[in-house]
């Protein structure tokens, strides 16, 4: 059993859980994730490790209430426990001195891109974080993000805070204005990963996307998470989750993420209505 020692609501439907796990607190690296399971009936779901604290022996996850499992996770409180927490899984994000690195995140990903921005900055890169949220209410951890970056751009879909317009548009403008960018890391929904990759492709800027495909074990045993990159089948849980966005078969990725659309509705109806 793994105990939740802190729970915080960060924005509508977005929560932080701090979970006790001393070994993970020591071992986690930027870009890695855990697979957790709430209880006996629960599904195994992957969540990025948003932060870790060796002294406290804990890790942070931030998540968005999407379907049955994340809705249930949102009902847990401090002091509650979950039955399973495995990690740190996946290959860590490649952190090197690249020059100017742009970290792009939308929605809940604003929470878990921070370790990457931080590590990139520590390596001596100039880091721009470009965060995109629906509206002002959804903006969270602005200070943390600012601290992890040299420059922080916040944009909202409705323009209620920061710049207006989707992140890929802003990225496009940056490039058109002659900003030199050496590397891009993108986290968030599939369509945004694709849009950013499409924009950087003509510029030949390496664009690393974190592919959130559907997982079970997270250690390469089932193949549920398979994606096609550069014409080759890869398991996102062990070969990724980071991949070269210019080589991803996006149609396949989006199709595979929708396999259980009907079942997801049924599960929410069964447990939350």
């Amino acid at each position: 059993m793994y105990k939740i020692i802190l729970k915080q609501k960060l924005a509508p439907k977005i929560h932080l859980l701090k979970i006790k796990e001393p070994i993970l607190a020591k071992k986690s690296q930027p870009g890695q994730f855990v697979v957790l399971k709430i209880d006996e009936e629960g599904e195994r779901i992957p969540l990025n490790i948003a932060d870790w604290d060796e002294n406290e022996g804990s890790i942070d996850v931030v998540f968005f209430e999407k379907g049955a499992t994340t809705l249930k996770l949102a009902l847990l409180n401090e002091g509650d426990s979950i039955v399973s927490l495995a990690g740190p899984l996946g290959l860590p994000t490649q952190i090197e001195k690249f020059g100017h690195v742009v970290c792009i995140a939308a929605g809940v990903a604003a929470g878990f891109i921070i370790p990457i921005a931080k590590a990139m900055k520590q390596k001596g890169n100039k880091v721009t974080s470009l965060i995109w949220q629906k509206n002002k209410k959804m903006v969270f951890w602005e200070n943390r993000l600012a601290g992890a970056s040299d420059r922080l751009i916040i944009a909202t879909e409705d323009g209620s805070y920061g710049q207006k317009g989707p992140a890929p548009m802003i990225l496009k403008k940056m490039l058109e204005n002659g900003d030199t960018i050496d590397r891009i890391n993108v986290m968030g929904p599939g369509p945004m990963l694709k849009a950013c990759s499409d924009i950087t492709s003509p510029y030949g800027i390496k664009t690393i996307v974190s592919l959130h495909s559907i997982m079970i074990d997270g250690i390469g045993m089932c193949g549920s998470c398979r994606v096609s990159v550069g014409g080759k089948t890869k398991f996102a849980c062990v070969d990724g989750p980071d991949f070269d966005g210019h080589q991803v078969d996006w149609k396949l990725f989006s199709a595979r993420n929708n396999i259980y659309k009907n079942e997801e509705k049924i599960a929410v109806e069964q447990h939350f209505s």
């Binding site: 009936e41 599904e43 399973s84 079970i216 250690i219 193949g223 396949l252 259980y260 049924i266 599960a267």
Partner: protein, 467 residues
Amino acid sequence: MEKINLNRVPMPKQKPKTRIKNFDEVALGYNSQQSKNEADRCIQCPNPTCIEGCPVEINIPGFIKAIKDDDMPEALKILKEKNSLPGICGRVCPQEVQCEEKCVFSKKGAPIAIGRLERYVADWEQEHLKSSGQSFIKLKPTGKRVAVVGAGPAGLTVSADLAKLGHQVTIFEALHTPGGVLTYGIPNFRLPKNIVNSEIDYVKSLGVQIELDSVVGKKMTIDELLDNNFQAVFLGVGAGLPMFLNIPGENLNGVYSANEFLTRANLMKAYKFPDYYTPIKIGKRIAVIGGGNVAMDSARTAIRLGSDEVSIVYRRSEVEMPARQEEIENAKEEGIKFRFLTNPKKFLGDEKYWLKGMECNKMKLGKPDKSGRRRPITISDSEFIMHVDIAVVALGTTPNPLIAASDKDLEFTKKGTIIADEKTGKTTKPGVWAGGDIASGSATVISAMGAGQRAAKSIHDYLMSSD
């Protein structure tokens, strides 16, 4: 000479019509009369050949005699001397090519049903005694600590044996439940999970600790275990990487690896969806590609999940199928169709990337290949389309490269298996042993247990000679 009785007592089973609607065990087990009748057939050969056929050398005539004599505690004791998991082995071992094949009655087509008797004894224990390690004289604690990686049959066996010798054993298991393939692969209707759990409880009762959610290679490395006060490490991580056909369309929605299909159904209990949260796609027409136990388990799971038509698609003919005969029979009784000499060439999908069908070739058999089975040859221009909405690829598994990536001292074969001495399980890295599917490639439960036993002996010698 005793009169020879060739009437092998049949196994009582759930009726096909009933059992395809549930996930309960198909084979119901002998009752005490049936077990006595079967045991009475054994003529107690003075030089028993059956023992040679047993990878862990159970004193087979001994435990059968105890059944005859109505001395069940004795039967159990004899079994458990050599086999820590008899309830499992009695159910899933391929006795027909092991002990029973060596039985003198085998030539007459009626070997003693050793597996069924083994199961009877194990189930008797379940009913009458609480599984407990106390019936064993445990040696004095040695103060030596052993880390075992993987809680499958190999890991559980090596742990039980070392614990009985007084060593302190901790198992590190990647998943949230121990048991390995016994838990995530083999379905409940063939191997009930309460049986697996009580055998695991037995191992725990010997003092073995099990740390779940512990992916070695990620959460800790082998070197960290060795530095961390473990004097020896045993790797029993199995061969968990699913093989695919590598043909076009294999990533379409609706194409599963058998590992994923069975993991969803068994480990995650998707057959209880939505009470259990993990979904599974069922489909009206399912094709399962392959001819081994894994294919039979997938097909029989599919029919229980409510699929209208389940076909096994196999590129050779029935006689070459590696699955146990008993499981093939069970599958047939349950209405599973068999398409022999058929090989998929391409998966066909619709515009939304959903599987719609498979283009297949007809095959014929040529000369025997390395495996001794006749090689399948594609018949040219024989393409035809099978309409299916789910396909399960059950070709087998290879070792998971995760451990290899995390340790630079271990040596591996081209196939990805760890190089380990067959007699001792010793790897090329000092202090590290390996056994089971990770060393042999996909094999059987009992061969994994045999490897665990041999490694336990070798580890024990090593621990007691080093101070």
